[in-house]
């Protein structure tokens, strides 16, 4: 087991939201005490529905926005203040890919120029070396030099996402944050990109934070999975085991809601109630109004994330036995 490359310690983030021009502002707790650690060369999958805080977590880990509380450590060191030289050095070691590759690319530049851009920005290598690196990157994402000369509009969705990936890998980062990278792609193309990501991850010993609402894709690519609900982690565990034996009632509902060919919907857990609203977080366990097993304690007392097995942590009053040790960072 290697040491963690990325450590997220009890980060919180609150946005203020105003309803209408003269409306009262209200606080939206996007993240509330989230702790994560990703070991070198491993992939952590982050799943949850919209509003669960998974993308905010990704943005804070990358230093795109500061947490209100808590800290992100990268390679054992705290993230430097944005804009400083130390921060630039750290940031060159981390990269990101998002859902919409067309939005991430400049439509008026050939894609090879865009892959080259990070090398120019960080001043890596001579001109000829940069050119060679661009070709190497194109090959590594299974595209050829002809693709490099095209504009984003002349490529398919899957090819564009490969270009974004090649550009992200240009600076040889140690850490990659992928936010819904295959959600906009068709199934057959999605499988190509997922395979490519898995290959590159193994080949380059990349550490990844993989954010997605798709349990199947997350399981395919992750070593460890964390499930988020309304700004908190409700369950973490090893990818193979977590979806096979979910313990938290929310994870159980999520797994049960994932339709599978060949399985008829017998015994499906259909949650009642509306999707969670981060601006109106229920008291106690945020999941209790929709939880089929909630007891009175759930409405008043926030369950801590506790270990129930060597590699499983669950935040639920009904799961954490009396012998469970509290592992909450707070």
């Amino acid at each position: 087991m290697s040491a963690p490359l990325v450590e997220v310690a009890a980060i919180s983030r609150t946005y203020t939201m105003r309803s209408g021009m003269f409306g009262r502002s209200s606080a939206v707790h996007a993240l509330d005490g989230v702790s994560l650690s990703i070991r070198k060369g491993e992939t952590l999958g982050l799943v949850g529905e919209s509003g669960s805080g998974k993308s905010t977590t990704g943005r804070i880990v990358l230093g795109l926005e500061p947490p209100d509380a808590g800290e992100v450590r990268f390679g054992g060191k705290s993230m430097a203040a944005p804009g400083t030289p130390e921060w630039r050095v750290q940031r060159a070691r981390m990269q990101m890919i998002f859902q919409d590759p067309l939005g991430a690319l400049d439509r008026r530049l050939p894609v090879a120029d865009q892959i080259r851009e990070p090398l120019d920005v960080h001043g890596l290598g001579t001109g000829a070396e940069r050119e060679a690196r661009v070709q190497e990157l194109l090959r590594s994402v299974e595209l050829n030099p002809q693709h490099g000369r095209r504009y984003p509009g002349a490529l398919s969705g899957g090819q564009r996402q490969r270009i974004v990936l090649a550009r992200a890998l240009a600076t040889k980062p140690d850490f990659l944050v992928c936010d819904e990278p295959v959600s906009a792609l068709d199934v057959s193309i999605q499988a190509q990109v997922v395979n490519l990501l898995a290959d590159l991850q193994a080949e380059l010993a990349l550490t990844m934070l993989f954010i997605s609402h798709d349990l199947r894709v997350v399981r395919q690519i992750s070593n460890v999975v964390a499930v988020m609900y309304l700004g908190r982690i409700v369950e973490t565990g090893c990818a193979d085991d977590l979806f096979a034996r979910p313990e938290h009632p929310y994870t159980q509902a999520l797994v049960s809601a994932s339709p599978a060919p060949g399985r008829r919907s017998a015994g499906r857990i259909v949650l009642s109630g509306d999707p969670p609203n981060p601006a109106a977080r229920p008291s106690g366990c945020a999941f209790h109004p929709r939880c089929p097993r909630a007891i009175s304690r759930c409405a008043t007392e926030l369950p801590a994330l506790s270990s129930i097995a060597s590699d499983r942590q669950v935040a639920c009053h009904l799961v954490s036995g009396s012998q469970a040790q509290s592992q909450d960072a707070a």
Partner: protein
């Protein structure tokens, strides 16, 4: 039993580019038919064309019969009775299908007044009954709310209520849950199947999600590049797909349990409709393609129980798959 809707040789050409190449599909009374395929495969165009909803420049040919009566190219008055009356449609993005400045009551009553001979209090009572039916809590009060006051899942429920206003015999649901979160998707699919059971309504479920279709349909048709390539009972199709593309789609889906395996990705991409290969549209991506596949497009032929497959290599592809788990 004669089918409720039968589509024969339906073809669509946009600006000289053929996008639908002779689709044959029928829906029986009360049956749930799934239509799967990737973007651009023609799933939505099939039904937009069948209901005369495509823009004027689209050239549509073939035949679409509802209860034996031809509706393709029928006069507007006939189509107005069919659309929203006999056949209703719901879409992926329910929010944009509702008028944001009108109350839900106004919009529901409008649909009811168009298709049902109701007025005054009876109309309002019916609107309330429909909202109750689709599981909107406190329906009486919520009728005077505006679309933005509802969540995404509730707006889709309201769209379903409006679709039910004309007592349709067939509901076309085009990616009805794609924009929704997993737990809300489960609620909407549950609602659709309970409404169908109650009203004995047939449904065509259009989706890119194989799981959604597998679990909610009796029969499934797989589309690729403007053609149906395989059509079979849902269980048979997902347990034992014959067409290489259907096999590819199922193999590309990451499993949720069991051992992790490398995904069987289909190489290449969907062909551009303006540069369609001669012969079978899937041949350039197909591992089993032979010379014949590049010459003429295979037509759907019956194979096995209630199954039709458009592939000259269907037997070979099935043999190739035996031994490799289908899931």
């Amino acid at each position: 039993m004669s089918p409720l809707v039968s589509i024969e040789a339906l073809s669509v050409v946009f600006n000289g580019v053929p996008v639908l190449h002779g689709v044959d599909l029928s829906v029986r009374k009360g049956e749930a038919v799934g239509l799967v395929g990737e973007s651009g495969s023609g799933k939505s165009v099939t039904w937009l064309a069948a209901l005369g909803l495509l823009p004027r420049h689209a050239r549509v040919s073939g035949s679409v019969r509802l209860d034996g009566r031809e509706i393709l190219g029928a006069p507007a008055a006939t189509l107005d009775q069919v659309r929203g009356g006999r056949v209703a449609m719901i879409f992926q993005d329910p929010a944009s299908a509702l008028n944001p400045v009108l109350t839900i009551r106004r919009q529901l009553c409008e649909a009811l007044a168009l298709h049902r001979d109701l007025s005054g209090d009876a109309l309002k009572a019916e609107a309330r009954r429909l909202l109750d039916l689709v599981g909107i809590p406190d329906a009486a009060r919520r009728l005077s709310a505006y679309p933005h006051e509802f969540s995404g899942g509730q707006v889709q429920r309201i769209m379903i209520a409006m679709a039910l206003a004309g007592n349709p015999d067939l509901l076309i649901a085009d990616e009805p849950t794609t924009a929704l979160d997993a737990t809300i998707q489960a609620q909407i699919l549950e609602l659709l199947s309970s409404v169908r059971r109650e009203l004995g309504m047939a449904m065509v479920l259009i989706s890119h999600d194989l799981g959604v279709v597998a679990e909610n349909c009796d029969r499934v048709a797989v589309m690729y590049a403007g053609r149906i390539v395989e059509q079979a009972p849902a269980v048979a199709l997902f347990d034992d797909p014959w067409h290489p593309y259907a096999q590819g789609l199922i193999g590309a889906l990451p499993p949720l349990d069991g051992p992790r395996r490398r995904l069987a990705a289909i190489p290449g991409t969907v062909p551009d409709p303006s540069k369609m290969p001669a012969g079978c549209g899937f041949a350039p991506r197909c591992a089993l393609a032979v010379e014949q596949c590049g010459i003429s497009a295979p037509s759907l032929a019956p194979l096995g129980d209630a199954r039709t497959v458009a592939c000259v290599r269907a037997e070979a592809s099935r043999r190739a798959l035996l031994g490799i788990a289908a899931e």
